[in-house]
């Protein structure tokens, strides 16, 4: 699938949606990073944003898999929405509650004491990356994580 084949100048003002669904295995998180990076670069995100994005996607996908425990069966879904000047991401798995609560992600002071050191590290990572990270309830149950990166305006 090529993101390049989808975008056209005529569609520059329209919203465009990309999605990727992966089996819930850490083996494929790298693929999600590649996909997110390719879409972001195509729409003009700068390299720093692309690196941040890959981190956020990696943390999000890994969280969606880890939250399912030993027998993960719900595929991880990443939706990318290209808006006028931002590229918005949402990552989740159907019916799966991500390991971070809305409070933990949005406010370091609200972080609940956790015995899981890895969850603590990943939430620190996510907090440090984007200002507009949000945990939202999904219509199909569970939660998903949203974040976005700015896009340069075309010349």
């Amino acid at each position: 699938m090529s993101a390049r084949s989808v975008a056209t100048d005529a569609a520059a003002d329209e919203e465009q949606r990309f999605s990727l669904t992966l089996p819930p295995s850490s083996a494929y998180v790298g693929t999600a990073r590649l996909f997110a990076g390719a879409v972001a670069r195509h729409f003009g995100a700068d390299e720093d944003s692309v690196e941040e994005l890959k981190l956020a996607v990696s943390e999000a996908c890994t969280g969606a898999i880890r939250a399912q425990g030993e027998s993960a069966t719900a595929p991880v879904r990443m939706e990318i929405l290209r808006g006028a000047d931002r590229l918005a991401f949402e990552v989740g798995a159907s019916g799966v509650t991500l390991p971070w609560s809305a409070g933990e992600v949005e406010d370091a002071a609200a972080r609940t004491p956790t015995t899981d050191y890895m969850t603590s590290l990943s939430v620190q990572m996510i907090q440090g990356l984007f200002g507009d990270v949000a945990i939202v309830e999904s219509p199909d149950g569970g939660t998903s994580i949203r974040f976005s990166v700015p896009l340069r305006h075309p010349e």
Binding site: S26, G30, L55, S58, T62, M118, L121
Partner: protein
């Protein structure tokens, strides 16, 4: 597994682990196992060379922290070599840059 390459070598009393590729939930367990092996062999002074690392997330950081704890149980040391922006950023975001000695080169790390 071509996503992560590990090479181990000795520099004086230090064991240097050269890491190349991407360190995430899929590949980090191999780095973890290598560190566990080294500690099991009595190697308590370890340099993790991250110069070849193109990507690392919190799973990778967790392995490094675990490694630090293991060597410290034997009064050892674990140092990092890293000059790449993205990986340094990951260390900075989580505050772990303050916990690990971070050097620009392996030579500097083994001289410390």
């Amino acid at each position: 597994m071509i996503d992560l390459l590990l090479d181990t070598r000795m520099e004086g009393p230090w064991t240097v682990v050269d890491v190349r590729g991407e360190v995430d939930a899929y590949t980090a367990p191999r780095l973890r196992e290598r560190i566990i092996e080294l500690v099991g062999e009595g190697q308590y002074r370890i340099v993790i060379n991250l110069e070849g690392v193109e990507f690392m997330d919190s799973t990778g950081l967790g392995v490094l922290v675990g490694g630090l704890k293991r060597v410290r149980e034997h009064d050892g040391a674990l140092a990092l070599v890293c000059t790449r922006g993205p990986v340094l950023r990951v260390l900075a975001i989580t505050g772990l840059k303050e916990i690990f000695p971070v050097h620009d080169t392996v030579e500097a790390a083994v001289a410390s």
